[in-house]
Symmetry: C2
Subunit: 576 residues, 2 copies
């Protein structure tokens, strides 16, 4: 029943293929990484004809499971040079799953100069020349396609940054409100742009309820699963009320909130950019403090954030973005941060990579610390328009840092380090260093156990146990990323035994299997090993599994700690 849709942009031909048996039990990240590893030469140019962009719903996507609205996008990354998988919400993933499409593979490269749109329908893909939306921002593209095709189409689109093939570009997904969600990291927008595809629209005509092998068991398992989501204080309360920005004050208190390009672990104006402040603003201005990024979401960590006049400013306003602009770049005004967030969504750039890059640019003297207005100008006038300055900035954190000869460049495998300082929270340092993805907090969220006391407690300032913690989290995450479930189910999964059991129960009920928790762990391990083998063959060996040297040289306040984990201990990560 399930099919793979393959679109060859060299010959502008789309074909529908049956799913090879070896891929039948895979979904989401497991499937995108397996396809990329099988079909993309690891040493190919990420923007050349031999790279492939793969979209795949998770194993539970499209079902009635709570929080199963996410899907994966994978390729060789133009930013890291290694394998990449991103997860996003929005509507498209669910529609793709309910059309019976297991994966969409976009490959080759057109010979001429023209751009294309893809219309994915139940039985195949139409490739149409596109001019209307070229140069437009993501919001305008969504508006245009909604008018052209109808309200219910799923939309996957590129902003101007993706058209410019910038390494900071992302891929956007229309959400149920017509707003945007993102495959944010690793420059996947440039890969889609290199295929000269401006958008992929998914026609919901013919969606059907997915076959469930044991509907009653599925319902029971989903109910139990949903209860754990609601019962856990993080997923059931903290994230619901304050969104992910609840972390600003928590991480500042822990001394791990990287401030002024990673020169301090605490930020004086943390109150002004906190989740609590955001909540107050939202409530006072008639926004929505709790909101879902996709159908079926229980956690509702998203929100609608309005300006002082009650006009929409942004949604999906994340801790990472707020931290990077507010603490790392010293912008004190949450409204400007929100405006920048919205502009980044529109231009189509990674809202971690770009703000961290700007903090590096501030250190280089390219713009004043905390100058959000100048940043908005550079985003709109330079990055979006592809000026020389925009091209420099569009290369990301490492490119800008190198251009100015800086030594304090917070990247791993060329990708910007997110919102937790690895000197003060050592578990996340292990994740940054070792994940196949380049610096990525979501790959193994050690903050849970280092700071939030979820899944036990490992002292954030000690190296003891951090490699094991990160490894276990990375294995579990790779499995969760393969299900289409939101990563935040990890909070109950780490603390409430019924959570993981009910996920396994849903998988068994959906496919008529009898998997155990061990099988899920085995899947996670297999995903990591597949990705790691790709990276090794691409030239990212053990020596690239390191944090930048400055973390070893510069102690950070308030704990005055350095990164001091023995590289040999770090290298044991892959012993499993």
């Amino acid at each position: 029943m399930h099919k793979i849709f393959r679109i060859d942009m060299t010959d502008l031909k789309a074909t529908v293929e049956t799913v090879p048996e070896a891929w039948a039990g895979l979904g989401g990240r497991a499937l995108t990484s397996t396809i990329v590893a099988a079909e993309v030469p690891p040493t190919c140019h990420p923007l050349g004809p031999n790279n492939k962009l793969v979209f795949a719903p998770g194993l539970l996507s499209g079902t009635a499971a709570s929080n199963a609205g996410r899907f994966s996008c994978g390729a060789k990354s133009p930013l890291t040079g290694g394998i990449k998988e991103c997860s996003a919400g929005g509507s498209a993933g669910r529609i793709i799953a309910r059309l019976g499409i297991k994966a969409i593979i976009l490959e080759g490269q057109p010979k001429g100069e023209g751009w294309y749109g893809l219309i994915v329908r139940k039985d195949g893909v139409e490739i149409v020349p596109e001019t209307e939306t070229l140069g437009k921002g993501n919001f305008a593209v969504v508006e245009d396609l909604t008018a052209r095709l109808g309200e219910d189409f799923g939309v996957i689109t590129l902003g101007p940054a993706g058209e410019h093939l910038m390494a900071v570009s992302d891929i956007s997904v229309k959400d149920p409100d017509g707003k945007l969600r993102s495959f944010g990291r690793g420059g996947l927008g440039a890969v889609m742009g290199s295929k000269r595809v401006k958008f992929i629209a998914i026609d919901p005509e013919g969606v059907a309820n997915l076959a469930i092998a044991d509907p009653a068991a599925f319902k029971v398992a989903n109910k139990a699963f949903t209860k754990t989501l609601n019962d856990h204080p993080v997923s059931g309360q903290g994230l619901k009320k304050y969104g992910t920005a609840v972390l600003v004050n928590i991480i500042n208190e822990a001394g791990g909130l990287p401030t002024k390009n990673f020169t301090s672990g605490q930020c004086d104006h943390h109150d002004q950019i906190s989740g609590e402040q955001m909540y107050d603003n939202i409530v006072a201005r008639g926004g929505e403090p709790t909101h879902g990024c996709s159908v079926g979401c229980q956690i509702q960590c998203s929100q609608v954030y309005n300006d002082k006049d009650g006009k929409f400013l942004t949604s999906g306003f994340e801790y990472e973005t707020i931290w990077a602009l507010g603490a790392d770049g010293l912008i004190k005004d949450l409204d400007i941060i929100a405006e920048i967030d919205n502009v980044m969504d529109d231009i189509g750039v990674d809202s971690i990579e770009v703000p961290v890059m700007f903090a590096v640019a501030m250190e280089a003297g390219l713009l004043p610390w905390g100058d959000g207005k100048r940043m908005l100008e550079m985003l709109r006038e330079d990055i979006a328009k592809g000026t020389s300055l925009g091209r420099l900035l569009g290369g990301g954190t490492a490119a800008v840092g190198r251009a100015f000869g800086l030594t304090r460049i917070p990247v791993v495998k060329n990708q910007a380090i997110p919102a937790y300082d690895p000197r003060a929270i050592k578990g996340i340092g292990v994740t940054y260093a070792t994940t196949t993805m380049g610096a990525d907090h979501t790959a193994g969220y050690a903050i849970a156990t280092n700071i939030l006391n979820v899944g036990g407690k490992v002292d954030p300032l000690s190296n003891d146990g951090q490699v094991d913690l990160s490894r276990n989290l990375q294995i579990a995450t790779a499995a969760v990323d393969s299900t289409g479930l939101c990563l935040f189910i990890a909070f109950p999964a780490l603390d409430i035994p019924e959570c993981l059991a009910s996920v396994v129960g849903m998988l068994n009920a959906r496919y008529g299997l009898s998997l155990t928790g061990d099988d899920v762990v085995a899947l996670g391990k297999q995903v990591l090993k597949t990705e790691h083998a790709f990276n090794l063959a691409a030239g990212l060996g053990d020596e690239s599994d390191r944090l930048p040297e400055f973390f070893e040289l510069e102690p950070i306040a308030p704990h005055q700690v350095k990164w001091d984990m023995d590289p040999k201990e770090l290298a044991t990560f892959w012993s499993f």
Copy 2:
């Protein structure tokens, strides 16, 4: 008798050390690479306090040996991320050798913002704050220091690009005419800049003739050696008359002259940019067609090139630079090429990296093809002044290519590929891919045997025998680079048995040794293995020993050949 001068810029302290026994038999590249490998952590930031910049005369530098006026500079490269050694002529190397200094090691990093000059004297180093020459070009620095210190001082200096810590920056050396020679490749200027040293002046006071263990034998060996230099048609005639630019027509005829950013192997206007044309211009305008870069040079491949009014335009006008600007960037006017060459010397940038970068920028549409005037403007107004555009360009070929999302980026290990297309001349492709230096023709000049029939003949269009050829040349080159002899002695060394024998004779007579040719080969192997081990530990594994993918995808005219060497065959390079 010999000493090592160590300058710690962190504490602004210089010390004089005795030479460790293990380093006593080393000089030039063997010594710089050994010191870098021993003292620099391979994963350190190349512009941080843990990198070191090492200068070392060769084993025969400072003696009466012909063509022994060159010295080496080594560090971890900010461009390639691996180990780097460059060789340069000029006067400083000979003076350093004749002061009994075996190596100068520059380490650490000042804490404040100030810049320094170093005055190296017989007994130690004076570290002086420097403001006068900051921001000035190399010619002005040389002029200033000549006025300040005297005509006879050796001078090693940085241009503005080095002050900006740009990856394209080089280090200049004053030559006997007060003009410039360069440690050109790999961004060594940025390493010196990161130590905040604007110049190193070498006081010749106290130079002495070096002790020669067997003066009579040395004289006999040097005479035999000099005869081979004069007898060989390349070193005795071709290079003397036309300089290295003699190659323009030869390589064009072979179909290996990369043109218009490596899209053709032949250039329509090759006659206009040939060595023959250069010679005619020089003679007609009262320049000097034959000229040496250092004392004792027999080959005299340099020249003084004047403009139409007989005014000095440039010297040391190399084939590589002329090719890169004239063929790869399509600039047809040799006078503009000469002016650009001179400006690059003044700003202090690698005259291979920068023109190849400009050809990539032309492909990206940043300036028109062949527009030398615009290039001059960008050099003077952007790179020299460090504008945003200058910062983008100053990152080099790979940085610019990535900023614009190009796939045709001619680099290996991030360093620009020089003037011979590896598809049409496969031996040099093996050298580009495998050398520890990043793409570098001088590391194993397979053109000799592929094209010039020196050292036998290996068909340039066939893969057969190329790995062995490149390996043998790289081993021999590593040894030659350790002697202080000019690399062009390789031509007679490959064809006339007395050449290598007399070099070994000079080494034995100088040091009272009884080395054989096998010992010299063993030294070359040891150097390569030391460098390779550093690169592996820095993260440059086998997968980085590859040419960019476009050489495998795009055939090149006139032979319509691709790069098609099996990576497994390439990987056998290191089996020795």
